[in-house]
Symmetry: D3
Subunit: 274 residues, 6 copies
């Protein structure tokens, strides 16, 4: 069960409102790198977590933290929109510089939300929940979470570089820090479960008899005109300790030429196909 | 530039066509765990890869392989739909067992595609390209790729368990094997670049001065009624070697009570808000 | 800032797991009548609420409650999926009745989520955040909230009728009750602000000079072959007390025949259009 | 059956074409507050209306009117795009002011539609039909319709404020007026059916025995640090006359700690979960 | 401006309601081959039609007809859902055959729409307006319209084959007929404008100087292991009379090896990329 | 099976990077007129092609070519983004002209992709695979392909007109040429199968007994106030040689007034409807 306290998790200060930056911040709320995504991803993973109950606990706890991130980011968007012109008669709206800035703002902040945050990304595309990655497999889910936090910290760093507002920089430095920890904690769960090597290949419970293991450790070079680049992936023991890496170049197809023959009568095809 | 040869990368054999299994296989084509996704993800990552040219090379090579996976899976879907009834007059359509099976099939395999594969998932929802994760940051992208392959191998294992068709099991054992290698190779790139620790936190180029590091290594326990579970994440050195893990329980908000005050006149609010 | 306690807001009990009912319950999680929607709608309305701070307070408080509803519904879905067959070899999977039931289940509960809830509706379509209605106008937002709760209570009633599981009926009777209160509380806010009449027309701050009031109170009958039905809408004082209802039948167009003339050269049109 | 006459329902005049305003107007066509939405919503409600045939009649009649609104708004978009530059060689395109304005225009008006309206919102996101709210319950549907018209009138008022073109202001004043009437008429239907109180809670046909009525009339305050605000919702008779409002603060969870135990073998989980 | 008469364009009769067929019929309403699509496509093409005003006239007229098709199909869906069980207590719901049929029905017809039509396809996926193809180029638009009607007639034929209800067969035979005419009329417009040859290549107004004509008439065979099949496309005069067809086999890339070099500092990349 | 060579199909040269043009080019990658669409459409059509194996061969070959188009367009986007400012501190970012240009750029090229291409259109909306038109009917599919290539050539022509960069013009002239050929080749397949007339109406295998042929050849004029325009569609032999065109004006409805009567008890309706 969820509870709320009325203060924000972290202080939000905007020294100089900037409607364009409000648009950019939306990526951190409703983008695939954003906070709705991680909040919902951890929430649904928690609800489906089977096995070690500590993991469900951590997932739900961090889902809750991410909800608080949405909350202060939403406030940051609204503060960046404070005072934006809403009529063509306002002095600001007649200023060509303001006009240019508004051209780069999200018009729906004016038209649809009344100068406040929306669950959309920096292009105004609404977040959709297909981005909640939750498989019921802890290995796959932890990887998905590291991915989400890595993307989130890339985004926060880019936003940090793009603003000169010290309040916004302060808030983003907090987000950068929390994304550091969240990357760490999901990897630490894998450590706790025996380490990355023991987790591989995900799912590690798939019996090797279900796997055509002769195809499990070669790198397939599909380029016709270049050799495979050499590196950790091209030779030496595999990372799960079950095989040896090799390279397969100029691969020959192993299968047949596909053909479906004639179409069935009454199947909606043209006469010529039947 | 791409080329094609007419044979499939791997043999596709269906001993007993099954329209319900055709529906399930669609998840491996058009699901977020599927082959369109990885093909397009590696393709777009390749086109945006900056730095070590070997990585662009590998990304494009494996994108090409994944296109071949779409191709043989598409053939598998069509073969599972061979002979399905298309009119109410056919004997098969009158068989209650067939009728029940068709109730569990995707009706658009009959109505829309003429008994062949579609770029949709097992619910018939079309794949959308927002699932192409490509940040321009190699660390984030490699994690996204491991995630995709982990999800893919979980799916292939579940499909393997759900069928009794030996041809389908054979094809899926090949997919399971290739998903093993692809998990390996993306992690091997991180190894090649100095190892996971050196990559953390992603992006590792963000200066620590941009980060409120006092918030970078504590696990935040937002539960009111439970202590934080102990584990690798709650104490000891952080995984990037830059800090020490700790736990922050019963966290107090650090920010203000948010309030936006009155609405601006002419902003479309109610009189009572202005 | 959000907090969490480890128990569910309400008890979830499933006497007899039913994968088909798990699919139906998804509508209450990820449907437009579902809990993700109201949680996020009230959350974003709260973040954009200007004027009376009590309203922001109530919106955030109820958003928090709705998050708890997602949580127990998610548990209900997982419990309905407990024990569902995951391999073709299981006895249950060979039972024709079970087979028929699984044909009516969501295959992604098996393939994608590992037998747990997903943020999708009963068709497996992911929720998308465009359904978060939040205009910054309290009148419009309260109406949107009554609408959401009315739809939610219709859905909960239909689910209640469709199950015979006493645990599920108990849980749904709680949801029906809370949807009653939530309908009430949003209307009560309008009462508190002066009543529905005073709120109309939304936005009530739009000056009448911006309105072609000669068109504000007639019902337009666009049927060619039927008179307008008579009722409260066709005569008598308008509900906002500003006008008198009337009927306009067989309406004549007030505007011009539209024509755009020739296409511009170099605009990508055919020669014949230029 | 539908018919058409060649003139527009209302005159459209654009004194000074403005590609940026063309982009904003798209919200009134393809936004969730727009005309496609109400046209389709009333149309589908009409097709599913059971009970009093007057309501089906009104729904279809007003659906037809909304189609006419799409038509004149579409013409308004095209007229705002008249003369926009389509090649980099045109003088206008070289004017920095025009260039800035075009930066704020929808590039697909140039690239995709050939300078005419599209069924998208002001961000260029296509309308999707999930926003057609039609439950088969007249109470829920009328509320949804008031919501749609309230949102529509908020939008039309904001557009009115944002333009200085007298032709556009005239057209928008007509839309504001019709949105007034449409808010009125849907509420008038509820009046006609016995009034709002008799309609509550929606659906009013749900037996009270299906409802855990001990939870039906308390406001739940989930804030840990603030008392519930007092108002019409916190005490006194409920709006449906069936209960008394009260406040429940510091709510205790009523349910269990959820736990799903181990994962099933062969379910695609990690070994550690089984 | 639109008008309505209260009768349907064509009689709808359902001899034996069938909830599964109701689901299939949804494809003809909300599928990409369905009536919402053509109604909206012709409507938006009409609003953007420049040049010959007859074409705008025909587009709007046929858009109006397609709205009438939505209307009678919506009625057909509702009639197929008449009497479907809505509670688990009904006798019908306990019948295993009915149960199996309902497993193959759209659960949202029960849960969300109250036994009536929805603007979704046979998978329950809502129609989205990105499928409104309207370019402002008459040649491209007419082709898009023939495509839509061809897809529509394929679908109607498949539905016709799948039902044994004589009322439904009668209604579908009308749709098949109208789709015949609509294919004809869009092609007839091209005839009227000088014939298909004169329209090619679309847009026929693009100057040949904008085209690398040495690449305009060869068929590119990208297969490595098969010769190009011979046919009308491989030799002889081109269909626009401007060139000669030929085949280019084993094509060599004409471009460079792409490389983007290092990433920019502060661009969110890993250190290793900079 | 697919293969790759490391060079691009065609040279990409950008003389003067332009982030706004990078945004426009996205339409040619991820728009409905773009290359992802045709690549995937031909790919899925190939996988479902029944009948003449030459057609499958051509479809797959051209799908492969379109993948190469994505590749060089993706490179063109990245080159247009080369050197764009990524921090507010850069000189360029402070230049008002650059600032205005960036206001018209896609912010996600900066925030999400690290200055490279994305699978989105010029509005930043991701491509979704519902636009893969593949019916299993060769006639319908070839029409869909001509439509796609006509739309593609319209787009390429508009992009050509909008840029002054000679490298971009050169690349676009190649695309314009290939779109010419692709329009030709899909029509040539219809020629090869007997010509357009023999293909009509699609599907040509539908028996005339399934068609209410008395409705197959009249143009329906739904305008109340205008006569049907005369032209090839209004009189003379039909294009399939099976009938005579005529005009039906002032059409009378052929069907009934629809009414659904009362709602079923327990179906979630209001009391007044039952």
């Amino acid at each position: 069960m969820f509870h709320h306290s009325s203060k924000l998790q972290y202080t939000v200060r905007v020294d100089k409102p900037d409607p364009q930056f409000a648009k950019l911040l939306q990526q951190a709320i409703g983008g695939i790198e954003g906070e709705i995504r991680v909040a919902m991803q951890y929430f649904f993973q928690a609800m489906g977590a089977r096995g070690d109950d500590r993991i469900r606990n951590i997932l739900m706890s961090t889902a809750t933290e991410e909800l608080s991130h949405i909350e202060f980011l939403g406030h940051a968007v609204a503060l960046n929109l404070e005072g934006a012109p809403v009529t063509a008669q306002e002095e600001a709206a007649k200023d060509p510089v303001v006009h240019a800035i508004l051209g780069g703002a999200n018009p729906r902040h004016l038209l649809s939300s009344g100068l406040s945050a929306m669950p959309v990304n920096a292009n105004g595309v609404p977040f959709d929940m297909s981005h909640v990655y939750a498989t019921g497999n802890i290995g796959a889910d932890m990887m998905a979470n590291v991915t989400a936090e890595a993307g989130g910290r890339v985004l926060a760093s880019r936003l940090y570089n793009w603003t000169e507002d010290s309040g916004m920089k302060d808030m983003l430095s907090f987000l950068i820090a929390r994304d550091t920890m969240h990357q760490q904690q999901w990897l630490a769960i894998l450590e706790d479960m025996g380490g990355l090597k023991a987790s591989l290949p995900v799912p590690n419970a798939t019996p090797q008899s279900h796997e055509a293991t002769e195809h499990s450790y070669y790198y397939l070079n599909t380029h016709l005109d270049q050799d495979a680049p050499e590196g950790r992936w091209s030779s030496g023991p595999s990372l799960d300790g079950r095989g040896e890496f090799s390279v397969k170049a100029q691969p020959e197809p192993l299968g047949q030429v596909p053909s479906l023959g004639k179409a069935k009568p009454n199947s909606g095809a043209q006469k010529e196909q039947i």
